[in-house]
Symmetry: C2
Subunit: 680 residues, 2 copies
Amino acid sequence: MDGDHPLATTLVIGLRHTLRKMKNAGTHATGLQEAKYHIAFRPDAKMVTVPEGTLLSDAIAQAGIRFNLPCGGQGRCGRCKVVVEKGEVKRRGTSRLSTVELEQGYALACQTMVYDDLQVFIPPQEAILRRLPSEKAAAEIPTLPVECDWQSNPIVQKFFLTIEPPSLSDNTTDFERLQRELAKQYNIRNIVAGLPVLRKLARTLRESEKESQGWQVTAVLEMGSWLDEDAPPRLIDLRPGDHTGRTLAVAVDIGTTTNVVYLVDLASGKFIDSAAAYNAQISCGEDIISRILYARKEGGLEHLQRLVVGTINELLHELAERNRIDLSEIYAMTVAGNTTMIHLFLALDPSFIRLEPYIPTINHPPPVRAAELGIHICPEAPVDCLPSVGAYVGGDITAGVLSSGMFKTDTLTLFIDVGTNGEIVLGNADWLICCACSAGPAFEGAGVHSGMRATVGAIEEVWINAQTYEPTYQVIGNVPPRGICGSAMISLLAEMFITGIIDKSGRINRHLNTPRIRMGEHGPEYVVAWAKETRNQEEDIVLTEVDISNLIRAKGAIYAGFSVLTASVGIDLADVEQVLIGGAFGKYIDVEKAIQIGLLPDMPWERFKYLGNTSVLGAFTALLCRDMRREVVEIARKMTYLELSADNRFMEQFTSALFLPHTDMTAFPSVLRLLDQQGK
Amino acid sequence: MDGDHPLATTLVIGLRHTLRKMKNAGTHATGLQEAKYHIAFRPDAKMVTVPEGTLLSDAIAQAGIRFNLPCGGQGRCGRCKVVVEKGEVKRRGTSRLSTVELEQGYALACQTMVYDDLQVFIPPQEAILRRLPSEKAAAEIPTLPVECDWQSNPIVQKFFLTIEPPSLSDNTTDFERLQRELAKQYNIRNIVAGLPVLRKLARTLRESEKESQGWQVTAVLEMGSWLDEDAPPRLIDLRPGDHTGRTLAVAVDIGTTTNVVYLVDLASGKFIDSAAAYNAQISCGEDIISRILYARKEGGLEHLQRLVVGTINELLHELAERNRIDLSEIYAMTVAGNTTMIHLFLALDPSFIRLEPYIPTINHPPPVRAAELGIHICPEAPVDCLPSVGAYVGGDITAGVLSSGMFKTDTLTLFIDVGTNGEIVLGNADWLICCACSAGPAFEGAGVHSGMRATVGAIEEVWINAQTYEPTYQVIGNVPPRGICGSAMISLLAEMFITGIIDKSGRINRHLNTPRIRMGEHGPEYVVAWAKETRNQEEDIVLTEVDISNLIRAKGAIYAGFSVLTASVGIDLADVEQVLIGGAFGKYIDVEKAIQIGLLPDMPWERFKYLGNTSVLGAFTALLCRDMRREVVEIARKMTYLELSADNRFMEQFTSALFLPHTDMTAFPSVLRLLDQQGK
C-alpha cells in the first residue's frame, strides 16, 4: 500500500492492535483476516504492507528496493544487515552480528520476521562491481588448440538465392518455391521453418524484388542439431539482398561469478570481439548453493533466469554497439556453464542438484530458440548448451576438455578447473575419468576473514621477508587494499609456510619476533596490511588460523581428488605427462606456490600449461563446426564420473592432504629441497 | 484522450483552428504538429482525439466501442452506417447510402475520414449471433467413412512407468532415468523433450513417489510428426500416477463462418462431444476477402489471430466444463480450414492469396505447440493443420477427400463443397484433380436483397403453387421470417422456374396474374413474404431479378467447374458414379431442386450422398491415427490443381451455364421431362 493516506494507516494499526489482543487472548473469531503490518523504509522513503511473519528481505523486495542477498538468504554471509529503528521483530538467527550490533538494532534481513509495524534503515551494502573491465578480454584474441573444419560444416549457413516470382502458370506457394530453389541451386532438400520466419516470408520475398532480376534473398539455415544430426535444415531467417559475407554467432560462458560472450563470424571462423560482466545473479547469492536456495523461493527461479539472461543481453548490446552490428543478425549461440548455471539459465528446477544423491534434471538440454529464453538475437537462432556429465561436472568442464584438445592426444593429461569446486579430468584420447571436489568457496574469498573476489582493491600476490616476516603485496588496480583474493591466499600460505610463520599443520608460530603475529578476536592471526594502509583505514587485513585451516581443507580436497582419480585407474600421479589448468581463476595461480602448499602435484613446471577461460573457448569451438559439437557430446558420453562422496578412498586421501604440502613429504621433493635450503 | 478536462479540450480546439487556418492559407510552418480532432460518440459517451484524415471506423476502434465491419472495411456491405451529427467529414464512398440517408447525415464508418471535430451517433448494428445452438451437433455422433488402425499407431500415446528413485551409486539424471525406463519397459528409445516439460520433471517424479513402490508416473509421448515420421518421440507431459485410461485430443474445423471442435479419446478412438460457435473474426469481415483486407491494417492480422483462437478457446472451455475434464489433459489438436483461415490462425500474411497469381505462404504449415498459438490445452500439445493444395483449395477440402474415403475407392467420384467458393474434386484411388470456382457469396445471403445467413428467422425452404403462384415457406426456428438463406434461394429459384414465374434466362414473367410479381425499387421482383408476416413488419421479403441473376452466376460458376474438370481428364459428367456433398451448407441442399436450376448435374438421385461437415470429420480422421495423417499429406500431394482463371474453357462453360438449368438442355433430361409435364 505504497502511498497510503496517513489516517488510513492509523486506522489499520488501531484495528490490528485489537486483533492482536484477541489473538493473544486465545479468541479465534472465524473470518478475521491475518494481521498485516506496515513497514517504512529509510533512506528510500518507501512503505509496504505485509502479512505477519513475512521475512524482512521479502518486504524489501516488495518495496522495490535494490538489495543483495550474497548467500541467497541462508543467514550465512551476514551481508544483508539492516537496522530496525522502530517496532519489534523475531530473529531466526543472529550469527554474524556482534552484541553491539544487536543492541544497536542490527538484524539480518533474510533471518528476521515482521510481527509489528516497523521502521527500518537500510545501510549501503558493499557494492557489487557492475562490470568487469572488458578491454583486457577483448584484447586477447583466442586461438583454438583443436583444429576443426568450420568451412565445410558450420552449424548455420547462409545461401544467396535469385528466385523467379510466381505466375498463374507457376503458382507454387512462397515456401515451396524457396524450397525448390534451394534444392536446385544448392542441392539442399526438405527444409523446414518455424512460425516467426513463415510470418515474414511473403513480405520479405516481395520486398527483395530487383527490377527484372526477380526476387533476391539470403536464406539462413540451421544445418541439423546434435539431438538429430539428420534433422532437415531449418530456415531461421530470410533477408532481402545478399548477406552471405559473414554469419555472426556467439559463444557464451555462464560462470557463477562472471559471464563472457565471444562474438564470432562462422563464415570465416574468426573471433571478432568479446565482452564480460558479473553474472547479475550474484545479488541473489554468490555461490551455487545460495542460488539453488534462492531458486526455491516463490518466483525465485524465474527471477534468477531473467537476471542471467539480462546480463547476457547487456553484453550482446555492448558487442553490437562496439562492432556496429544488428543483434538480429546473430544466428547461433552456444553456452557453457556448470550444471547449476545451465539449469538456472533454462529455468530448470535445480533443487535436487544440492541434495543427496545430487540429481540434475538433464545433462544435455535440447537446443532451444533464442526467443524462448528472451535472448535478444535472431528469435529463431538455436541456443545450444554444452552437455554436463553430472551435478558437479558441468558443460564448462566438457567445454574445457574439448578446447584443451586432451580428448585427442596420447599424452596422459590431467585437466583441472579450480573454483568453488575443483573439477578434475584425467585421461587422453582413449579414456576420460573425472570427479568434482567440494573445495568450498575459500579461494573465492568466502569463509576467509579478509577474503574478497579478485576485483579492484584485492591483494593478488604476497611475498614475505624470511628474516623480518614483513610482507610486500600487489593490489589489483594499484589502489589501497580492501582484502585478499584467491591467488594471494595461495602465495600468502606458501610464503608463511616457507618462512616458518606456520607449520605443516597450518598453526601460526606465536614465538616469532614480529608485531605481524598476534592474538585476534578469532584466535592467532597474521597481519598482511595495517588499517592505515587500507582503503577504509578502519581494520587491519589479516589471515587467521581459522582462515588457514579453511584454505588447507580446500587445497586438500582438490589434491585428494587427484590422488583418488589416478589411483582409481591404477596409475601414479607422477605418471601424468601434462597438467592443463583451465577456468578463470586458473590463470592467476602461481604454480610454484601452489606446489609449495600441496594444491598442485610436485612435478617439473614445464608440464603445467595455463589455458585461460577454457569454458568459453569450448563453447567457441563447438560453435564453429558441427564436428566439434558432435565431439563434445561424445566427450560427455565417454567421461566416467567418480562420485567422491560415495568413495571411501577420498576421505582417507583428504585427511592425508590436510598438511602443508602433504603427510607424504616424499611426494613433494622440490618442496623438501626448498625447506632444506631455508633451514626450516 | 478519454476523460480530458473540458478546458484542455477547448484550448486544443482553439489551437487547432489556428493551425487549420494557417494550413488553408498555404502556410507550412515546419515543426507544426499535424492537426488533431476530437470525436464524441453517442450513445456510448466516449471521446477520442485523432489525427486529420483518420477513418471513422479506426476512431471507433480507438474509443473501444464494439463495432462490426462485415466486409472488412471495403465499403461494400453498407452495414457500418453511423450518423455524423456535428462537424464535417470527407466521404471516400457513399454506395449503399440512399439520398435520404445522406441528407440525414448517414455515413459509412469505413469510408469516412475525419477533418473536423465531430459528434457521431452509432446506431445499433444487426446483432451477430454469438453462439450456434450446439445441442444438435453434440447429439450427432460422427462415424468415420474410412477405417484406420488407431490402436496401433496414434499420434499421442501414454505410458505408465514405475521407476526406481536415484541413489549415489545410480545417479543418472531425471531425464535419462525416464529415457532408460521407457526403453526397458516399452522399447521406446531416444525420447526428447521441450523446456515446459523439463521444467516440471524433477518435481513431478518426486511427487509421484508411493511408499516403497518408487516413482509412478504417466509419460505422454508424441510419436513423430508428419514432417518427420522418424523424429524421436517427444515427451509432451508427465503426470504423477496412472492416467493411461484415456488420451484426450481435439479436432477443429475453422470455417470462415463457423468453428467446430470435436473432443476425442485417442485411447479408444471414440468421439466424446462437440461444440460449435461463430468464428469471432466475423466482426472484422464476413467473407475471406474482407478478412484479408482487414489483416492489412496495423495490428489487424494479430487481432484476427486472437479472435479465432479466442473462439476455439471458448469452445474448449465449454467442452471441458460439460465433460468435467481438465484442459491441460488435451494432448493433440488437428485443424482443418481453408487456406486463408489457416493463415489467419497462424498469423501468416494472407495478402497474396487475394492478389493474382494467388500465392499462399505455405500449403502445409509445420506442426506448432499449443502454447505458441495461445490455445488453452497442454502447452506442448502439437497443433497440426491439414495441408492445402493451393490458395483456394484448402485443408478443409483435403480433409473432405480424406473423410469421404474417395481417395481409396475405384468408383469415379465427384466431391463438392459449396460455400462462397465451390470447391470440386474429381477422381478415385488412382488420381485426383480439383478446382475452385468463385461462386460469390450469394448462397450465403450476401448480394441478395433479402438474403441472410442460415440462422433463426431465415426462410430455409419455399414451395410455389403452380396455379396461384402463392408461396409456402418454412422458417428456421418457426418464427416470423427475417430473410432468405441459401437453401431457400435454391428451392425458390427452382420453383419459380418450374412454375414459369421466371424463364430460362432468369427474367420474371410480368404478365402473370398475381400481386406477388411487381416492379420494385430495383426492378422486377417476386414477393416471398409480405411485410405484415415478417418479424419487423416493415418490409416485404422479395427476390429481385438482380438477385436471380446473381444466383444464376453463382450456380453457373460451379457447374462450369464440373464441366471443365471432367473435360480436362477427357470424361463426361454422366460418367461420374457418385457425387459426395460435403461442407456445412451441403447438407441443406435439396438435390432435386439443385438439379432443376442446374447447380448439380442431372443424374439419378441415389448417386448423391450428403457427408455433413467433412472438414471436421477429416480433422478427426487425421487426429485418430498416424496412417491417416500421412494419408492426408499424400492426398494433398497428389491432387492436381486446375487454376480456372487461367483456363479459357472455363469462361466458355460459364457462359453456357448462365441459363436455367443450362444452354444444353439435353444434359438435363429429368428437368426437360418435368417441364413437359408442367406444360411450360
